[in-house]
Point group: D2
Chain length 436, copies 4
Amino acid sequence: MTANPPHSLAAQYSAVRAQTLALAAPLSEADCQVQSMPDASPVKWHLAHTTWFFETFVLAPHLRGHQPFDAAFRVLFNSYYNGIGAQHPRTQRGLVTRPDLATVRAYRRAVDAQMADLLGSTLAPGVAELVQLGLQHEQQHQELVLTDLLHLLSCNPLAPVYLPWAAAPAPAAAAPGWVDQAGGLVAIGDAGAGFAFDNERPRHQQHLRPYALASRPVGQGDWADFIADGAYAEPRWWMSAGWDWVRSQQITAPLHWRRGGSAGSGSGNTAGWQQFSLHGLQPLQADAPVCHISWFEADAYARWHAAQHPGSPPTRLPTEAEWEHAAQAVAPQALAGGNFLESGALQPLPASGGGLQQLLGDVWEWTASPYTAYPGYRPWAGAVGEYNGKFMVNQMVLRGGSCATPRSHIRSSYRNFFPTDARWQFSGVRLARDAG
Amino acid sequence: MTANPPHSLAAQYSAVRAQTLALAAPLSEADCQVQSMPDASPVKWHLAHTTWFFETFVLAPHLRGHQPFDAAFRVLFNSYYNGIGAQHPRTQRGLVTRPDLATVRAYRRAVDAQMADLLGSTLAPGVAELVQLGLQHEQQHQELVLTDLLHLLSCNPLAPVYLPWAAAPAPAAAAPGWVDQAGGLVAIGDAGAGFAFDNERPRHQQHLRPYALASRPVGQGDWADFIADGAYAEPRWWMSAGWDWVRSQQITAPLHWRRGGSAGSGSGNTAGWQQFSLHGLQPLQADAPVCHISWFEADAYARWHAAQHPGSPPTRLPTEAEWEHAAQAVAPQALAGGNFLESGALQPLPASGGGLQQLLGDVWEWTASPYTAYPGYRPWAGAVGEYNGKFMVNQMVLRGGSCATPRSHIRSSYRNFFPTDARWQFSGVRLARDAG
Amino acid sequence: MTANPPHSLAAQYSAVRAQTLALAAPLSEADCQVQSMPDASPVKWHLAHTTWFFETFVLAPHLRGHQPFDAAFRVLFNSYYNGIGAQHPRTQRGLVTRPDLATVRAYRRAVDAQMADLLGSTLAPGVAELVQLGLQHEQQHQELVLTDLLHLLSCNPLAPVYLPWAAAPAPAAAAPGWVDQAGGLVAIGDAGAGFAFDNERPRHQQHLRPYALASRPVGQGDWADFIADGAYAEPRWWMSAGWDWVRSQQITAPLHWRRGGSAGSGSGNTAGWQQFSLHGLQPLQADAPVCHISWFEADAYARWHAAQHPGSPPTRLPTEAEWEHAAQAVAPQALAGGNFLESGALQPLPASGGGLQQLLGDVWEWTASPYTAYPGYRPWAGAVGEYNGKFMVNQMVLRGGSCATPRSHIRSSYRNFFPTDARWQFSGVRLARDAG
Amino acid sequence: MTANPPHSLAAQYSAVRAQTLALAAPLSEADCQVQSMPDASPVKWHLAHTTWFFETFVLAPHLRGHQPFDAAFRVLFNSYYNGIGAQHPRTQRGLVTRPDLATVRAYRRAVDAQMADLLGSTLAPGVAELVQLGLQHEQQHQELVLTDLLHLLSCNPLAPVYLPWAAAPAPAAAAPGWVDQAGGLVAIGDAGAGFAFDNERPRHQQHLRPYALASRPVGQGDWADFIADGAYAEPRWWMSAGWDWVRSQQITAPLHWRRGGSAGSGSGNTAGWQQFSLHGLQPLQADAPVCHISWFEADAYARWHAAQHPGSPPTRLPTEAEWEHAAQAVAPQALAGGNFLESGALQPLPASGGGLQQLLGDVWEWTASPYTAYPGYRPWAGAVGEYNGKFMVNQMVLRGGSCATPRSHIRSSYRNFFPTDARWQFSGVRLARDAG
C-alpha cells in the first residue's frame, strides 16, 4: 500500500478499486454475505454498491453505448438515492445470496473495464468530478467494510481474527496537556485546494472565544478510570437521553470491551479488560485512544472529567469550528505522521511526540456540533445532491479520520456524522475547554 | 385575565397560581386524570408537579419548620430531577388515581399558604430568584396543560370542546413579503433586563450573513397548497429521517387536520379540511398560521417552497440567531399586539398589519438550529441545573411563543426546544432566505 | 348482597344491575376512568358496555319505538362484535373522558327504564334468553371490574385500598390429600338445567383413565416453597415458551407478590413476602390458595411438585373433563360453601373441611385443556355468535369461579379461558395425577 | 434417491446423512450461511446441529475415548437442550460465519467416522434407539433445510431457483368428495411397530362421533375462489386472533403467492397469480393442494366453505384423532403412492385416483387439535426428554407429512406442530364435517 495517491485519474481509479478488493481478500463468501445489524451492510454489498455508483452516475450518462451489467442491479444496489428510483430495503441487504460473490466480482471487473475506456478518452465537463466523487465514495465504504466486518465478527462467540497483527513496542507517550487557541473571527470550510464534499462548503466565518484543545484524545486508561469511578451508574454525568440509553441498552463500557482479561494484561484500572478488534481479543492499551464510544459517552466523560478538576475551566467537547481552526495549522504534519488504513494497524495506537497529536487518524473525534448546513450551503445538482444534505439532522459531527480511513481521503475540513448512540465506528473523543 | 403582571413577587405568585387553576376549571376529574401519550402528562399531574417545584426547591430548603404535605409526593411528582432522587415513571403518570383531584387541590392550597408566609418575610439571598424560576416553570406548564389536553381530547372520537369560542371577523391580511436584515457580527442571548433561563446565557456574538425573514408565518392556506401538490408523497422535499417518519407514521397532514369538512367551509385547497382545536372541530383559516407541524414538515415545506420560486434565493428555516437578531428590534410591538394565552383565542389568528408580524405569539416557530449550549454556558448550580442543560441534544429550537403562552413569559431570547417529530405543541414555521 | 338470585327476570335484572353499581360505589371518577393495560378496561367502560349490550341486543330489535340514548355509543361501547359494526379501539378505552361518569350513569338509568318497560310486557320468543345472556354477561364484567381495578391500583406506588377488610380467624385447615376418580366414558357439558353459554354445549362423552384430584388448590405456603427452591431460575420445570416468558418478563413470583413484609408476618418461606390486594398490602396466608399465577407458572409448579415426590405418579394439571366430571358430584355443596363475590372477602381464603374443597369459588383453576370447541359445537345465531366461538384458539380453560365471581354465575360446566401468560385474574391451580 | 430405507442401522445412518448433504449440494456458501427470519436457521447450522446431535447424545456418552471435534461446538450448535447447557442465541445463528462451511463439512466427516466405528461394534442397551432418534431428527431437519431455504430465496427480489423442474402432465383429477367414518371409541397413538416419538405415546382411546373427511386437501383453485370472494377482508370467517393477524400483518394470500402472472397461466380465479417455489416463480395449479397457509387461514377457509354450502353439515378442521383413525386404514397405500421428498417434485402435486387421497405427503394438514400430551404421556428420560414435551402449548397439530418429508420418516401416528401463524412449512388443509 502507498500513502501517496497516484496522479492520473485512471491510476487513482485503479488504486482505489484495488484497495477495496484487498480488504475483502482474507474473507470467505460467508464473511462477505452477512449483515449483522441494520446499520451495517454486507461486504459483498459494499463491493457491489461502490461499483453501482460508477455505473449509475458515470457510465450510464456518459459512456456512449453503455449497457448495464444487470438491469436488476439498479434497484438492488441503490443505497438511498430516490432520484435514481426504488431501493432494495436496507435491512434486507444480507438476505440477497444471489448474485453470489463471484458474480459481484465479475460486476466490478466489467465496470472497471468500461471505466478504463471512459478514462482513456476525453472527458466531458463535470465527468472527472463525478469520478473523483465515486473514488471518495469508495474510500468511505472501505472504512465501512472494516467497521461493519468488525461488528459482524464481534457477534461470533469464537472471537475470530480478521488479520493477525503484532504490535510494535510503543514509544513512551508524552504527558497529555492543553494547547491554547486564540479564537476570534475565523474561517472554516473547504478552501478550494482539492476535492471536497458539498457539506464542507461554503467556507465561511465563525466567531470563536479563546479556547484550548487537549493535546491528544482520551486514552483507554483514562476510560478505565471513568468506569472504575462508577460513571455508567451515575446520572449526573449524562444527558437525559444518554442516561435513558445507558439504562435501556444496559451500557457499561465501550463497544467491544469485555471483562475477563488476565490480571497481568494491564495495570491499574485497565487490568481485567479486553477489547475485541480486527486482530481478535487484545488487552487494553492505556495510552492509545479509546474508541467505539458513542457521543453520549464522549459527552458524559467530559462532564465527569470536569468534576475531577474543579479548579480548572470545565472540560467539554470542542465545536467543529474549534477543531477545524486548530487543525488547519497542523494538518500537514498530522497527515504525514497519522495512523491511517495504510499503516495496517487497524486500531488506534499510543500517542507520541508533542503539541497537538493524533488530530488526523487513529480515531474519529466526536464534537459538540450537530451536523447542519453551513451558511449558504447548496447541495450538488441532480441525484448526487442526496449524498449529504438530506442527513443534516439528528446527527453529530466527527472530525479527523481514523485508523480505518485512507490517508488520501481525509482533510481538516472533512465532516463525518453519526447519531448520538452510534458506536461501531472507530469513534473517540478529544477534550476542549474555554481559555482559563 | 390580565396582560400586565403584578409587581410584587407575592402578587405575581398569586396571579400565576390562579391562572393555572383557571385553566383546569372547565375540566372534570376524568379530564384531569388521563395521560394520552408518553410525551403528555395529566392535568392533575401538572397541578401537582408545579406545586412540588415550590415545595421542593423553595419551601423545603428555605422555610423554617417546613413539613412536607405528603412525604410520598417527593418521588411521585418529581419529573426528572435526579439530584432530588427517584421519580415515578413518566409513562405511568396517568395511572395514579390516588391522590384524587381534591387532594391535589388541597396540596396546592397548603403550599400556597406556606409560600405566602415565606413571601411575607425577608427572603434570604437567591430565594426570590428561585420563586421567579418556579413561576416561569408554572407558566411553561400552563401551556402544556393546554397542549396535553388538546391531544387528549383529539383522541376522543366525539370531538369534545374544551371551551366554546366565537371567532371575530378577521381583518384583511396584508400580503406576505420579505423583510431584509443586514447581518454581520451580532449579539444574541439574554441582555440581563429581567428573568432568563440559564440556556439563554451568556450573551455572545455570532456572525450572520445578510438574510431576509418572511413577514409572517406560513399560513394554513399555504399548507393546503403544499398538500394538494402531493408533498407528503414526494421524497425530494424531505430529510431522509423525515421521509422515514412520514412513511412509517403515515403522515399526510398537520396533526389535528382532518378530511371531511363541508366544501363551503373554505376556498381553494382549504376546502374539505377541518382542524380539531380546543374549540372542537373548525374549518381552516387560510390566513392564520399553520400549527401542529413537526420540524420535519417545516423543513420540507421550505424546500418545496424554494422549488416553486426558482428565480429567488432558496427559502429555508431561519437560524435561531437570525430569528433573535430580527426580533430584538420589534419585540415591544410584537409583545403588545401578540396573540397569547390571555387573548382567549387558544388558536393562531390571521395576520394583520405590516412589517414583521406575529413574531411573538400565535405559533412557536421552528428554526434551523439544533438546541445546544451557547459558548460559555454554565448550568445553574444544584438540582435546578438539570432544568435545561441535560436536554441539549437531538432537539431543535423554536422561538417566539404561541397562543397558549402567557404574555409575561415570552421574550426575544427565549429558547424552546422539541424533537424533530413533535407536533402536539402550537408549532409553526416562518421562512427565511439569504439576501438576494 | 344475597346469594339467592330472585326468581322473576325483572327482579334478576334489577339485582344484577344494582350489584354492578355497588361495586363502583367506592370509586372516584378518576378510578373509573383509567385503563392500566391493554387487557384491562376502565370501570366506566364496563358500566357503559354492559348497558350497551342490553340496548343493542335486546332493546334495539325488540322494544317498539326504541331510540338510542346516544347514537355514537353504538361504536364507542362495542367491544368486539363485528356483526354490529365498527369498534372504538380497545387500547384507547381509557382516553374517552367524555361522556363523563355522570352521563354513563344516566345511560344506565335510561336503559334500565326501557328494560323495565320491556320486561313488564309479554316477551317475544327468544327475548328472555337474550336478557338472561345480558345478565350473565354483566356478571362476567362484575368480576372484570374487580380484577381490572386491582391491576390499576397495583400500579400506584402508594398501594391504595379499594375496601378495608378484617380477615376472620381461619379455622385449622385439613391436610391436603388426593381424591380418586374412576374415569371411564363420562359425559361433560351443559346438562340443560339452566342457562349455559354456547361453549358448554353439546353435552358429550369423553373417555377418562382413572385419576386423582388434589383435595384443594395449591396454597400460598406451597408457592413460597416453590420460589425458595429457585424454581423461577430453573428451566427444567418450564415449558419452552414459559421459560422465554419468565426471562423476558423477569418473572420471579405471582403477580402482586412483593418482597418486603416484616419477618413476623408469616412463617417459613412465606415470611418476607406481602401481596397487594383489594384491601391493600397484606401478608401471605399459607393455607389460602395462591392466585394471580399464569398457566405457565401453574404448569411449572406441577412439574416441580412431581420431582419432589419421586415415588408417586407425577403430578400434572387436570384436564377440563377430569375437573368437570369430579365437580358434577360435589357441585351443590361446593356452591353452598364457596367463597364468591358475595362473601366480601375479595380474596381467596384458607381451606377447611374434607373431601374436594374449594372447587367452586376462591380461585379459577387452570386446566391442561386448551380452549376448543366441543364436538358438535354450534355458535349462537347472529352477532351474539361472536360471544365465545371466535376466541377458541391459543387460550387455556380455567374452571370453578373465584372470590370475585357472583355465586349465581358459576356452575360445574362453566368454561373460562385466558392466554397462558395472563395473571391479573384470580387464577390458581389444583393438581391432578394418574391413578397410582 | 431411494424410497426403501436400508436395513442395517449403519446403512440407514449412511443413507440419511448422505441425503442431507445431497440437499445442500446445489447451494453456495452464502446460501448456506443466511438466516432469513428468527424461525428459520441457516443450512450450515442444520448441517452442524444434526451432527452435534450424534456427537452429544451418542458419541460423547457411548464411544470410548471420544474427543469432541471442537469443544466450542457444544454450545454453538445446541438448539434448545437446557440439560446439555447453554445455547448460542437462536436469532443469531446466521451471524456465525466462522467455522466456515468447509469446517462444518469436516465436522460431519469426523463424526461420521466415529459413528461408523461405534456402529461396527456391539451396542450397549439403548444406543440403537438413540441412533434411530438421531436419524429421525436429521430427517426432520432435511425438511427444514428445504423450507428455510425456500423462505430465504423468497426474500430475494430476483426470485432465484434452487433446482429447475419440469412438471409432468397432471392426470385428470377425480372430483373431490366426502368419505364417511363411523367413529366410536377408537384407539390412536403409536402401535409399537417401529420408531415413534414420545409424543405419539401412549396409544389410548378416544370417543369420536360419526364424521366425514374430504377425499383430498383444499386445492389452489379453491383458495383462489376464497380470495376472489373477499375472504381476507371479511372478519366473520376468522378467529378473533386470526383477524388481528390478518390486519396487522396485511395478509391477503398464502405465503409465496404473488400477483402478476400472465392471464394465460391459469383459468378462473387462479389467473393472475403466481407462486414462488423451490423451482422459482410458477403458475398456480388448480387441482394441487394449497400450501404455505397458517392455521388461521385453514380455519377461516372451513368457516367460509360452510357458508357456501348452507344445506350441508358445516365444514370444519378434523381433530387429530379423526385424522389418525381414518389414516390407519389407508396408510400403506398412502405411503406407497405419496408425493414425498424422494419424488423430487418439492411441491404439492394434483390429486388423482379415488377414496382418501394424499393423506400422506404433498402437504401437512392442519387439524383442530392443539398440541398437548396424550393421557399418560411421559417424556423420554434425560436431556432428550426436552425433544417434544416442552413445546406442548400454544401450537396446533399437523398431520401427514409433505412433499419435503422423507418417505421413511412419516406414519399415521406422527404429530407435527406449529403456532397458528406459521406459514413457511408446506402446510395445507383437509376439511372435515360431522356425519350428515
